[in-house]
């Protein structure tokens, strides 16, 4: 399980965030990104020595300033369902990918022959070769689009 998927699952849950400078922020997680930058709502900030408090409606914390996050225990069980569903999807995706890459290799092999033709055409500066080129890249794009479709 990845720490950032756990964090994503913890959205809307209360949490405690301690920064490297020792300040702690208690609030509900609104959103987070892949750098661990986070948005909190209904926040209470506590100074390093724990004797001063500030209440704020929301705050944004840069991920790199975080020391650790304390998350409600039940959140870890919620990730498991997500992760399992994802890994199931992934195995199916991989099956498709293997099938597609075999297809792509065949396309690339035949495409290469055309590319050589194009290159020599380009050197001689013949404009007519462009049409052929578009045809080849068009085929590539179709394969890509198909690939992307399967990936979703």
């Amino acid at each position: 399980m990845l720490p950032l998927s756990l964090l994503k699952t913890a959205q809307s849950h209360p949490m405690l965030v301690e920064l490297k400078n020792g300040e702690t922020y208690n609030g509900h997680l609104v959103s987070c990104d892949s750098w661990m930058n986070i948005n909190l709502r209904d926040v209470i900030c506590t100074s390093k020595d724990g004797d001063r408090f500030w209440r704020m409606p929301e705050c944004y914390i840069r991920g790199s300033t975080i020391k650790y996050l304390r998350i409600p225990d039940e959140v870890i069980d919620m990730v498991k369902e997500d992760a399992q569903a994802k890994s199931r999807n992934r195995t199916e995706l991989n099956k498709n990918r293997v099938a597609n890459s075999a297809q792509n290799q065949r396309a690339a092999r035949s495409g290469n022959r055309n590319n050589f033709g194009n290159r020599s055409g380009q050197l001689s500066g013949g404009p007519g070769n462009n049409t052929q080129r578009v045809g080849v890249s068009g085929q590539g794009n179709r394969l890509l689009a198909q690939n992307n479709k399967n990936r979703k």
Partner: protein, 95 residues
């Protein structure tokens, strides 16, 4: 494969850059060594009284803040008499 993979679902001891010691079950990690620790406890060392154990629960510790991750032998660890172990607390990492 990262050496941490074999620690997954085992009890580990984390020493952080600020000199704290966390014990818990390693549930996950990523390429920057951010880690998920379940059933996390902090062990606070002091010279005047035994080790104080503070229950913290589920934690994500950011990789920047981690100095050491060690595998705990649970059979040895459970035999420790924490109340009678004294020791100086660690200081923070000096950069």
């Amino acid at each position: 494969m990262s050496g941490l993979e074999s620690y997954i679902n085992h009890t580990v001891s984390i020493i952080t850059a600020d000199g704290r010691n966390f014990i818990g079950t390693l549930k996950g990690f990523d390429q920057t060594i951010n880690i998920i620790i379940d059933e996390c406890h902090e062990r606070v060392f002091s010279t005047s009284s035994g080790i104080e154990q503070i229950v913290l629960g589920l934690h994500i510790i950011r990789g920047d803040n981690i100095a050491v991750i060690g595998l705990i032998d649970e059979s040895i660890d459970s035999r420790l008499d924490l109340a009678n172990i004294r020791g100086e607390p660690l200081g923070p990492v000096v950069h």
